[in-house]
């Protein structure tokens, strides 16, 4: 099996910059975005093994923001 450093899959990270196939993330790390080439700055993503594995759905981000506002409804 292959394991890589700092790959906790539970913590979404925000893309702050994209250069070619590499995204700079909100935690200061960088990740390969080859699997999801349509990502853009501001997207929230899950990273494993130095690779962006998935993008959080818009509804999930809205639901999180709603949680912070004290809302009672899911988006």
């Amino acid at each position: 099996m292959l394991y890589y450093k700092n790959m906790c899959l539970t913590i979404p990270k925000k893309i702050v910059r994209i250069t070619n196939a590499t995204a700079d993330l909100s935690d200061g790390q960088a990740a390969d975005i080859t699997l999801l080439p349509d990502l853009k700055v501001g997207d929230w993503v899950l990273v494993g093994s130095g690779v962006v594995l998935s993008k959080l759905e818009e509804g999930e981000v809205k639901a999180a923001l709603n949680l912070l506002k004290g809302g009672t409804d899911d988006v």
Partner: protein, 246 residues
Amino acid sequence: MFSGLQLAAAFAVGPSKLGTCSSSGVHLLLTRYVNNPVSVSQDEVRAALGSFPALMPHLLLIALANGIDDPFAAKVVEAYWIGNRLLDNVDSRRHVQRLIATEAKRHGWKEIDLALMFAKTISCQARPHHSLYALRPFWNSGRQTSFSPDIQDKCNGCRVGWGQVVNISDRKLTVDYQPLVFPKPNCVEFGGKTTIEIDRGFIGDVELNDWVAFHLGLGIDKITKQQQANLRQYTAATLAVINGNS
């Protein structure tokens, strides 16, 4: 029998040793504590476990939802890693909002990180069991429909595994277990029975046919038949959530 803090430390040794899910290599400290709890201060161990960004919020959430003061109470730790009825009492939205309000500042966590950590758990009415987060990439597929074998292996090793001992040596155990399989894109299931060799880790006296739990290939503890049933039940519930949302 492990205390809650010992059990939490035991499960954290694997990721710490591999440098995953923790920014600091605290596995030696944790290992020492699991093997000899009087050799290390509990405060040190609690601080070390606090460096795991997902662990503490989950333990605190389960404790809060059940009116338990200590997030390292044995039942709380067991609920997160193995699964028990405490998970069923997490009324996610209300408790997550309380968690954010009361714990974010105290621990220096970003509120948005906590909200994103739990938002989908709430909307899917899922249980905050460790398996949900070990398999999260498959739950949050976006446009990605298939993952490479090393990612599949990683997720399989990250979730807590269990099996029945079929061979014992000084440092290794061979166990019958069911791996997770990925038969098609966006689908995770239990596979057929196979055997796997694991490091004996923290498992002391053990006999053939005992049930054991392991994490990242490291033996954690013997588990009872009830714990084995719970681990399977809550992992199966995670798979149902993931596959239902694919």
